[in-house]
């Protein structure tokens, strides 16, 4: 049994391994977030030392991005893409297993650092250089021992896994579609995963290069980023953010994919403006490659450089806005069913709207000179990553869990999870904008009383604890429903894409006979032979 999971090359099992792995790290990084929030409940609190606090925010950020968000989205991609394009597996099943185990090892390498060498000033063991690991903090002079090497190697190795998975997804989507499924008839999810995979190839490689250069600096006497020997601190920033900003879209484009599958089914209408949705996604991919230095408005670039990145950053708002409008257009005139996946999808739309608008504020460079590096920007990107990405992932769990396990998740626990999480999320991240406006910088282990930050930080922390409880409800739901949930049958939501045409869970190799499709919604055509989609496309 165990051996069959370790040696598996089945895309569904590998997808599940990715997802379970990510859930484990979600809990770990969540605990780190709770430690951060306990420390910041009161001014001059001493729940943890400054060294431990700095390790906590470094590990929380690194873990959430590289070992929660990336694997969970690759997990869904692995599971869903072959099913939805009518394929029997990924293009390269053994490469697929290889990628997963690379990623799996890298997460554990990162956490082994708690037992490994000392960090800044010989204090503690886990890396404490922040998840951007800005130079020269990572130089041997400031980061002796090996803690930041664990960070470097973990990120480097997980990057190889990500690139291999991206290659696999691209090959699968371009080469393994069932008869009749032209590019223009692919489910939007496949289009969005194709775009995301292309971005992974372009964005992860500079990050890997930078990690190698950093290792050369630290062990072979190189001076790329070693400022004491004339290296450049800003060079690292460019390398990091030319990965770091596309990364945000690498994470959220699969979430757009979930939205584009879930909102139509629960509105009972096809996606509004399919070709425009595809175009907007590809447009986001290209434009988002040219916005990275908006993370660096405070480093003293020339006014021309700043203005260039103001233009590109604001421009990316246009295709993003188009997507929001098209989802609204999908709901418009529909018959919306408020099942748990749709509740999370609606909250996603609302929160992603706000996250986009605070992003516009940060894109106005002078406004960013005030808001950047403060708690405002922390609130902004958590609005994107929690309010957007995590809500979309929850929607995806409630939507596809029946397909994966054959059982429905409890709607009652699901709604409890939803409302607790919404309340906790808004308590935490709505209010978190305010201390930033009142001058509170990020990454400080404690703060001075009497600046109007105290009460806000206390409420922000309470909201975080509520989110923690909501996640527990979710985990309980996942476990209990696996045995006690109602039988799902093969098509519990009256869906339209190919995964709902096979049993739940799907059989080995998915399709007993390879399906043939004539439109974007093959199951609609099957259920409504009198009025098939193929007539209108």
């Amino acid at each position: 049994m165990l051996q069959s999971w370790v040696t598996t090359v089945d895309h569904k099992r590998i997808g599940l391994l990715y997802i379970l792995y990510a859930l484990l790290f979600l809990v770990i990084a969540g605990v780190e977030a709770v430690i951060i929030r306990i420390q910041l409940m009161y001014p001059h609190n001493d729940f943890v030392s400054p060294q431990v606090f700095n390790q906590m925010f470094t590990m929380h950020g690194t873990t959430m991005i590289f070992f929660v968000a990336m694997p969970i989205l690759f997990g869904f991609g692995n599971y869903l893409v072959p099913l939805m394009i009518g394929a029997r597996d990924m293009a390269f099943p053994r490469l697929n297993a290889f990628s997963f185990w690379l990623s799996a090892v890298s997460g554990f390498v990162l956490y082994f650092s708690f037992l490994g060498g000392p960090g800044l000033y010989g204090a503690g063991a886990a890396p404490d250089v922040g998840w951007w690991a800005y130079a020269p903090l990572t130089a041997r002079a400031f980061s002796p021992g090996s803690s930041s090497d664990y960070w470097t190697i973990a990120v480097l190795v997980s990057g190889f896994g990500s690139v291999a998975t991206a290659v696999n997804l691209i090959a699968t989507i371009l080469g393994m579609r069932c008869p009749g499924m032209t590019l223009g008839r692919m489910p939007l999810l496949a289009w969005l995963y194709l775009t995301m995979s292309g971005m992974v190839l372009i964005a992860i490689t500079p990050l890997s290069a930078a990690q190698l250069m950093l290792l050369v600096d630290r062990y072979l006497g190189g001076h790329f980023f070693d400022t004491q020997a004339g290296g450049s601190a800003t060079l690292w920033m460019h390398f990091f953010w030319i990965f770091g900003h596309p990364e945000v879209y690498i994470l959220i484009i699969p979430c757009f994919a979930f939205m584009s599958e879930i909102i139509p089914v629960f509105s009972r209408k096809p996606i509004f403006g399919y070709p425009v949705m595809v175009a907007a996604t590809v447009c986001i991919a290209f434009v988002s490659m040219s916005v990275w230095a908006h993370h660096m408005f405070t480093i003293g670039m020339s006014s021309y450089a700043n203005t260039f990145f103001v233009i590109t950053t604001m421009a990316v708002g246009v295709p993003t806005g188009i997507k929001i409008f098209n989802w609204l257009g999908t709901m418009w005139g529909g018959r919306i069913q408020f099942k748990t996946p749709m509740l999370f999808a609606i909250a996603f739309l609302f929160q992603f709207l706000i996250a986009g608008l605070t992003g516009i504020m940060l894109a106005a460079a002078p406004f960013d000179w005030q808001l950047g590096l403060s708690y405002f920007v922390v609130a902004h990107f958590h609005y994107v990553i929690v309010g957007g990405i995590l809500f979309a992932i929850f929607a995806a769990f409630y939507y596809w869990y029946p397909k994966v396990t054959g059982r429905m998740l409890s709607e009652r626990l699901g709604k409890l999870h939803f409302w607790l999480f919404v309340i906790g999320f808004h308590l935490t991240f709505d209010l978190m904008h305010v201390p930033g406006i009142l001058g509170m910088p990020r990454r400080i282990y404690t703060y001075e009383p009497g600046r109007g930050w105290d009460t806000l930080n206390l409420i922000v922390s309470i909201g975080a604890f509520i989110q923690g409880v909501a996640i527990l409800v979710f985990v309980v739901n996942l476990i209990v429903s696996y045995w006690k949930g109602a039988r799902a049958g093969k098509d519990p939501w009256d869906g339209w894409t190919l995964e709902w045409s096979v049993s739940s869970p799907p059989p080995a190799y998915n399709f007993a006979s390879v399906p043939t499709v004539a439109s974007r919604r093959p199951l609609w055509d099957e259920k409504h032979p009198e009025d098939p989609d193929s007539r209108y496309e």
């Binding site: 405070t298 203005t307 001058g439």
Partner: protein, 319 residues
């Protein structure tokens, strides 16, 4: 000393901060309108198009898209973006490309782990952590131009009421300016993560009226006073390795690694704002810096109680 002001970005006391607030209100208005319109559409759709029991079993009309509508919600955002970019670029240019008037005061700010060094090259002053600048009269502006350098890692200089933040980066020279229009003490702190004690790298800027500023400059230009009552403490200071890192002008102490202490008692705080400058705090700091600021680079010198008392008395003579 006057009570410090709040640190809200919406309570500006200087030109760059004020022009940023003006731009901010413009951006907030536009984003606010977008929010209200789109959120209203979302709420309307959720309420109006909710599934009803009577509709069970039937499907709504299947609509695949509409070129006109999609064109509209592409073109309108493009126009909004053009307006926002133009407004932003104007302010970027006005702040970044402002010429430096001949009357400007020049200060070099050097970020250290975890304190601030200030050099006034025109006035021959070196001090730390608490910056003094003159208020600028709109009729005869006297802005302050800052050159930002770093001695070790990245830092960021941020006084929300005076200006946005600019980073201090090793091997790089950054510039910023402020033109404060009212007197007072303005607070801020390092905004770029710089290591263990990033949190206690606080900033304090005193904007003085011209008379007070000139008096402060006069006193800072003096060497340390000779005081025969504190020779014991001075001997401790000069023999216990303190002088390797600290300067007291007029004495043999000429270290550059830590803050200049020539006029330590003219400052309201010690350890870059981590504690008030009182005899008890000074003693606690000299005894064990880690007790006040764990991770600070100043070592505990393991002094005896009499040595500590004498050293505190010497420090307190540095007016």
């Amino acid at each position: 000393m006057t009570t410090p002001d709040l640190t809200s970005i919406f309570a500006p006391a200087s030109t760059p901060a004020r022009s940023i607030v003006d731009l901010s209100f413009f951006v907030l208005t536009i984003t606010g309108v977008i929010f209200v319109v789109v959120a209203a559409l979302l709420v309307y759709a959720v309420v109006k198009f909710r599934g009803r029991v009577a509709d069970a079993g039937s499907e709504p009309p299947q609509v695949y898209g509409s070129t006109q509508i999609e064109l509209a919600w592409t073109v309108i955002p493009i126009l909004i973006v053009i307006v926002l970019v133009a407004a932003t670029a104007r302010v970027v240019h006005a702040i970044q490309d402002a010429p430096q008037p001949a009357t400007a005061l020049e200060i070099t700010v050097i970020g250290h782990q975890f304190w601030w060094e200030y050099q006034y090259p025109q006035l021959g002053i070196v001090t730390a952590n608490e910056l003094h600048i003159p208020v600028s009269d709109p009729a005869r502006p006297r802005p302050t131009f800052l050159t930002l350098l770093s001695a070790d890692t990245d830092h960021s200089f941020w006084i929300p009421q005076l200006s946005g933040k600019t980073d201090l980066i090793p091997n790089r020279m950054n510039r910023m300016w402020i033109d404060p229009q009212r007197t007072g003490v303005f607070l801020g702190q390092c905004a770029q993560y710089c290591g263990t004690q990033h949190a206690k790298m606080l900033l304090r800027v005193s904007v003085d009226n011209p008379k007070d500023f000139d008096a402060w400059v006069m006193s800072q230009q003096q060497a340390a006073p000779e005081d025969s009552d504190v020779v014991d403490g001075r001997r401790v200071f000069e023999t216990a390795a303190c002088i390797n890192c600290h300067t007291v002008r007029g004495t043999v102490a000429n270290g550059r690694y830590g803050p200049d202490l020539t006029h330590l008692m003219s400052r309201g705080t010690i350890a870059s704002g981590a504690a008030e400058n009182t005899a008890e705090n000074l003693r606690a700091w000299l005894q064990d810096p880690d007790a006040i600021k764990p991770g600070a680079l100043m070592p505990a010198m393991k002094l005896s109680d009499p040595e500590l008392d004498a050293l505190v008395r010497y420090m307190q003579s540095l007016r």
